[in-house]
Symmetry: C2
Subunit: 194 residues, 2 copies
């Protein structure tokens, strides 16, 4: 998605070869027009997947997930992060290690909002190692629901998360795939356009 | 806002006289069409305030804040919650006690995204005692920015937060003001329509 790639180049900050900060427009301050366009683009890419629900993880995925869900006319649902596991039968939960924060957390989804009849489109802001996405897939599996697509705003193509999920057969589409970062120079992989 | 009041009556759950759960459509699962309409309504109520930025608190305020910000054509910004204070001069921060979670947390906003030239419209999903909103007002004050309006989705009118802020002179508008809850029966206060 050219609009997002341009935004990353113009306003993002690449630190070293691995850290990409986009808190100017995506995960602290949010550009609502960009988010709207991202939602439309996810709809274009996944409109034939039969999704009944968009699922994301708090907090940075929420705005994009809601924009996409509006295009589909289906609900959005966000997994809640908890420092320690909520006990009880009322939630599906999975543990996830965050490299960004250097800690393990538990994400929770109420059993009321995912069922075996759901076809889930996962949306998130970033994909690197794929830990968060895999935890979400675990939760969706616990509900007996089906993952019909994975839409990522920014994928770090030089990390293994996206590749591993594609090899497992998931339809993964990323609006911008960063191929490499070097001295602040960001190179993108051409997008998969369908 | 009739649409929101109806949604609360039909899908919300009142527990006792104080707890109102709206995780079916607002703060866990999200109805994107409702959120869009709420954004438009906040725009209608605050369009003359000269806002340059919409500021909210993660996570449940984000979708509404972004919907409103899109109507205004200005950025949204969300304060990040941290279990302990981020040290350093790079963030404005304020402590807040959460009655929902029974703990104190610190909310942080990067100094990069709030300045003395900003006119801030605060948007949040709930107002009860007003703790979170007051912490956000503290942060906005640290930046030398001005609060030009406070838009709340659901205000608990029987708790003191909204009244205290109105008495201080803030323009507070809530899309639904719950007057009382009793045995699952929810009564609303007529809205202020401008």
């Amino acid at each position: 998605m050219k609009l997002l790639e341009e935004k990353i180049k113009n306003e993002g900050t690449a630190i070293g070869t691995d850290i990409l900060k986009v808190d100017m427009f995506l995960n602290h301050q949010i550009d609502p027009i960009l988010v709207e366009e991202m939602g439309k683009e996810f709809y274009r890419l996944f409109k034939d997947c039969g999704a009944t629900k968009v699922v994301t993880i708090e907090s940075s995925g929420i705005s994009i997930a809601v924009a996409a869900a509006r295009c589909f006319g289906i609900p959005a649902l966000f997994a809640k992060k908890a420092a320690h596991k909520n006990v009880g039968n009322e939630v599906y939960s999975a543990k996830c290690y965050s490299f960004t924060h250097g800690n393990e957390y538990t994400m929770n989804v109420s059993k009321k909002y995912l069922s075996s009849e759901d076809k889930v489109l996962i949306i998130d802001d970033f994909m690197a190692g794929g830990n968060a996405c895999n935890a979400l897939i675990d939760i969706i599996g616990q509900a007996g629901a089906q993952v019909v697509g994975i839409g990522i705003a920014i994928e770090k193509g030089f990390q293994p998360g996206g590749k591993a999920l594609r090899e497992k057969g998931y339809k993964v589409r990323s609006l911008a795939i960063v191929e490499s970062m070097n001295d602040g120079e960001i190179t993108f992989t051409p997008e998969i356009d369908s």
